[in-house]
Amino acid sequence: MASAIPTFTKIGKVIRLNKHGCTNRPFYHIVVQKTRDNFDGPVIEQVGSYDAMPNSQNEKLVAVNFERVQYWLAQGAGISNPVAQLLGLSGFLPNHPQTLIQSWKNRREPPRERKLQPIKGIAPPLDNPKI
């Protein structure tokens, strides 16, 4: 693997997000897995976690075992897009182009508001629809 940023291979080990949690409450494990395994299949090592729901202090918590991530990258593991973005945000890797593109898009045009219609007599519209 001669590339600076590990590229995604067909079959090999990859560092990616596994979605756990429950409905309307995602929670991701950052894991090292073989590409072909399912999200609920065998995991080689869990290398962190990412909580996509902001907490009461408006923070999204990301825990990463950087020492092990370094090890697996050295072993030739790939990284998935979201994990690469997270690592870029943390400063471990350079900023991912996707983050830059998304930020630019968000600034150009604010994310579309989903307008939820009230269901007559049963449910009022939500106060804060998730964008």
Binding site: G48, P54, N58, E59, K60, L61, V62, A63, V64, N65, F66, E67, R68, L86, L89, S90, G91, N95, T99, L100, Q102, S103, W104, N106, R107
Partner: protein, 344 residues
């Protein structure tokens, strides 16, 4: 800036088994801009004074070792066991006593008195091109093994694109979430808020407040310093020293009083309770802290007299107490000598 790598362990909240916690770094800096150590009237940087050998021995002697009170039954919500009685040889008894010494030392290990830590202000990078990627901050913590929580990298990416080191509060919260310390809550308990502490202190729950503060905060946390100072000042004003006397908090309290020049109440208390050793040790501590000298007088009575005549602030009350003590002492000696003569 001199850093001393001192392995300092101190006991945690009484509810839980004693843990080892390393206070890895405390720096003795002569930064004049950081006047927080001097604000409440401390004459010197407490971190400098606390760890000196002679100061430590003096504080240990002042605390004493009342085994009954140190090992008193605590209400932990655990099942109580009846005491065990064993028949032992002298050698076995000595062995057990040696073990108890070790336990006693751990229970009486004093939480350090440090000055407030400086806020963290380091910025790693500024990427304004990342503005808009999200509305919330991303807090990253390095969960690698083998690093202490004090050195753990905790980094925050703000929505405006700044990548900075997490502030002390964020850092402590994150470390508590991912590496929980028993006895510590993630968010600061309501007990430490203004009105609520006063409530606890009015009910004489000094040891509880101080133990919990020790478990919840690091010793150089501004909140820890304010809570402990409030408690120490309250105890001093109401002269309720006996409840804290055999605990591990007595040493830091005495040092706090000496540094903020409020030790006269305590000296008064010692003279009234006829504890001359403690009074002499207190005066010796005063001299050590004030100008690093150990006084030359060997006679304790002379030492205390010199202090009362000299640097004391509450001279009238102290002189009165001292005179009445001397009279009682004289009468006691007369009675004692009469008894000796009678028996001879």
């Amino acid at each position: 800036m001199a850093t001393r790598a001192a392995m300092f362990t101190f006991s945690k909240f009484r509810y839980f088994p004693i843990l080892k916690h390393r206070v890895a770094k405390f720096s003795v800096s002569s930064n004049l801009l950081n006047a927080s150590a001097l604000e409440p009237g401390y004459s010197r940087d407490p971190g400098e004074v606390f760890f000196k050998e002679n100061v430590q021995t003096l504080l240990e002697r002042l605390t004493g070792r009342d085994c009954d009170k140190v090992f008193h039954n605590r209400k932990l919500g655990e099942r109580l066991e009846p005491p065990k009685y064993e028949l032992l040889t002298q050698a076995e008894v000595d062995h057990v006593m040696a073990e108890m010494e070790v336990k006693l030392k751990r229970k009486l290990q004093m939480p350090p008195l440090l000055k407030e830590r400086d806020p963290i202000k380091k910025i790693y990078s500024f990427n304004p091109e990342l503005q808009g990627f999200d509305d919330s901050k991303y807090v990253f913590i390095n969960i690698s093994q083998g690093i202490t929580n004090r050195n753990r990298e905790v980094v925050v990416r703000d929505p405006n694109g700044v990548l900075r080191e997490a502030s002390w509060e964020e850092r402590q919260r994150m470390c508590q979430i991912y590496f929980p310390v028993p006895g510590r809550k993630i968010n600061v308990p309501k007990m430490f808020e203004e009105g609520n502490i006063q409530n606890c202190l009015d009910r004489d729950e000094f040891e509880f407040v101080l133990d919990r503060a020790c478990a919840q905060f690091d010793p150089d946390d501004p909140e820890y310093i304010s809570v402990t100072r409030k408690t120490y000042d309250f105890v001093d004003e109401n002269t309720k020293y006996t409840s804290l006397r055999p605990t591990r908090h007595f040493g830091p309290m005495v040092l706090h009083l000496v540094l903020s020049k409020k030790m006269d109440n305590l000296l008064f208390h010692f003279i009234n309770t006829k504890d001359i050793d403690a009074a002499a040790n207190l005066v010796r501590l005063f001299h050590t802290v004030a100008d690093d000298t150990s006084p030359t007088e060997v006679d304790e009575f002379q030492l205390i007299e010199n202090y009362i005549q000299g640097p004391a602030l509450k001279k009238p009350a102290l002189e009165l107490a001292w005179q009445s003590f001397l009279e009682i002492e004289k009468q006691r000696r007369e009675v004692h000598s009469q008894q000796n003569n009678a028996s001879n």
